[in-house]
Symmetry: C2
Subunit: 350 residues, 2 copies
């Protein structure tokens, strides 16, 4: 029996290694990326649940910014439940599932393939039902993930999508080289960041709700950090774009209602800073994260990460701050991040 | 000076009338719907913030189920901030904004139009900047909305999207006739539903967080009800699909953490019932809503609505239960739903 949360923490720390292992197989991603480009898809349909759905948010920006391609988080229920009569012959489907066993994702892929879409599975289990259902399968190569709360599989999903988008744009090698440097930055930042997260987290022991804001590439991070806080720390953490906040939720903020803001050096930075300032004006305690954390005025706490070579890589570093914070807070609250109540590793529910 | 919340309540009650007024102009929606079909779009890109974004969720299902067309909630920041080089020449853009003055939505439409997309504005102000920016403008005809918390403009956004999708599918008249019956059902249900909401709401005075679950068409309702609870009642209410719940957030549920479940008679009902049962097993107090509310086992409270002639119409009735509940709860908490703190009617923020 391991110490509660030990698996989660060890897997967070194993991410630079997991990422480096994936990057040894960059040529496989390059080839599928080239095939996607060859088909000139009208739409790239991304599907997944939980952390995989957060990764899908990243895919929208990776394909859009790196590849100039339209990608969307598709509705599974539109196809699986309503059986909508969509023309998907010019679509590419990318299905994300750590286990490859999520039933409605497998069913969705089977139907899309029948209807003529080019289907790609990205999974940690290349012999899973999802891998069998899809035309092309790419392995996450994250190694066994034993904590219920995902970390390294999410990390490698982000890298997979960046590699695929890079492959579709004919710049796979550049992206792979950039990601290798990200793995190095991640390895270097882990110790000091874990220390800082451990210092900060106990102050949040009695927090019951939070907002997590990000925009653009970092919307994925906001969604994944909120999910980690929810499942491992039992905080009702809601992810919001910087703009969502102004359109309603800011009214719910009050003093000592913490807002986690992810500020990275990219085109959306000004919008994030403005949203953070607005949350602070409404009385929120701010936690500043991301490579531009220092630019958030009046933050009570900061968990900055290094600046990567491209904005597209920022989410791979930003999310680690949230993972480490969640691990430290779960421990402070006496919760077991490895085995949250009510959850199992493989969710088979529809 | 009106009594706090009086405007919100009066506008909720005005929805059958607002809907009926929109339906007098169904031919305009039919014509634009036919134009959308003529273009055989590769993708319909829906954009909006806040309630308009919740309505966009409805559009994904309306176009998919009624029209067999791929619609997506598009990323504004991909185009406005990152300036992604997307081919949108085969896209239709539908921009939703009550005021027609939301800056980044206007900017998004201008850029999409420059790039060759067919752009449609749906707004309550046909002389707004958004209306000028778009190629086609459709008026919501909801009448002036004076409460900051939206209700009748959201209602007419749903109806507009149903009419457009119906027009694209060559069945505009059938959809319009069906919606006329919905307006009648809504008028009949208002008094008893308001009474029931007023009886239930005070029990939630000290609730600080909730989940709101829906799936398919009713995902829009989950998002809109969560937004109403957040902005008018200061509850951190998070919308989730029935499946999202199982992938993490169920771990945060505890006894007396209410979950609002929207169960309607459609293809997703079994998934919603399963999610509700799971939330209940984790200790949540259930509020059952929707036309199939009675099918949710062990619900502590119920706010059922009538069953409409098509599943596609269900969200127009289901949302009213949430609006009335939010109005009653805001009053019980001594909050002014007409003028929530930190919010203004027109959000100009990026």
């Amino acid at each position: 029996m391991t110490r509660p949360g030990a698996l989660f923490l060890s897997e967070i720390r194993g991410q630079p290694h997991a990422l480096a292992r994936l990057l040894e197989h960059d040529a496989e991603y390059e080839a599928v990326g080239a095939e996607i480009a060859r088909r000139a898809p009208a739409a790239i349909r991304l599907v997944g649940h939980g952390s995989s759905d957060a990764a899908a948010s990243y895919g929208v920006y990776a394909f859009g910014v790196l590849g100039g391609l339209t990608a969307m988080r598709d509705s599974i229920s539109l196809t699986v439940y309503y059986e909508a009569d969509l023309d998907v012959s010019k679509s590419v489907v990318i299905a994300l599932s750590q286990s490859g066993r999520t039933q409605d994702v497998v069913e969705y892929v089977a139907r899309m393939r029948d209807r003529g879409a080019f289907t790609v599975a990205i999974t940690n289990d290349p012999r899973s039902a999802l891998a069998v259902a899809a035309e092309a399968t790419l392995s996450l190569l994250a190694g066994p993930e034993r904590s219920v709360a995902a970390s390294k599989t999410y990390m490698n999903q982000l890298a997979s999508l960046a590699l695929l988008a890079g492959g579709a744009a004919g710049k796979a090698r550049k992206i792979a080289d950039g990601l290798r440097r990200v793995a190095e930055q991640m390895a270097e930042m882990l110790d000091p960041l874990a220390l800082r997260a451990g210092e900060i987290a106990p102050a949040f022991t009695y927090v019951e709700r939070m907002f997590v804001i990000g925009r653009g590439f970092e919307l994925a991070t906001a969604r994944e950090v909120a999910l980690k806080l929810t499942e491992t720390c039992r905080i009702a953490a809601e992810p919001l774009t910087a703009t969502d906040l102004a359109h309603g939720p800011v009214a719910a903020i009050e003093a000592l209602f913490p807002v986690w803001a992810i500020a990275s050096h990219d085109e959306t930075l000004a919008a994030v800073l403005e949203a953070a300032a607005r949350a602070r004006a409404a009385g929120a305690t701010l936690v500043a994260s991301g490579s531009a954390a220092a630019k958030i005025a009046d933050a009570a706490f900061a968990l900055p990460v290094p600046r990567p070579s491209r904005p597209a890589f920022a989410p791979l570093l930003s999310v680690v701050a949230g993972q480490l914070f969640a691990a430290a807070l779960a421990r402070a609250k006496g919760l077991d991040a490895d085995r949250p109540e009510q959850l199992t590793k493989v969710t088979l529910a529809q």
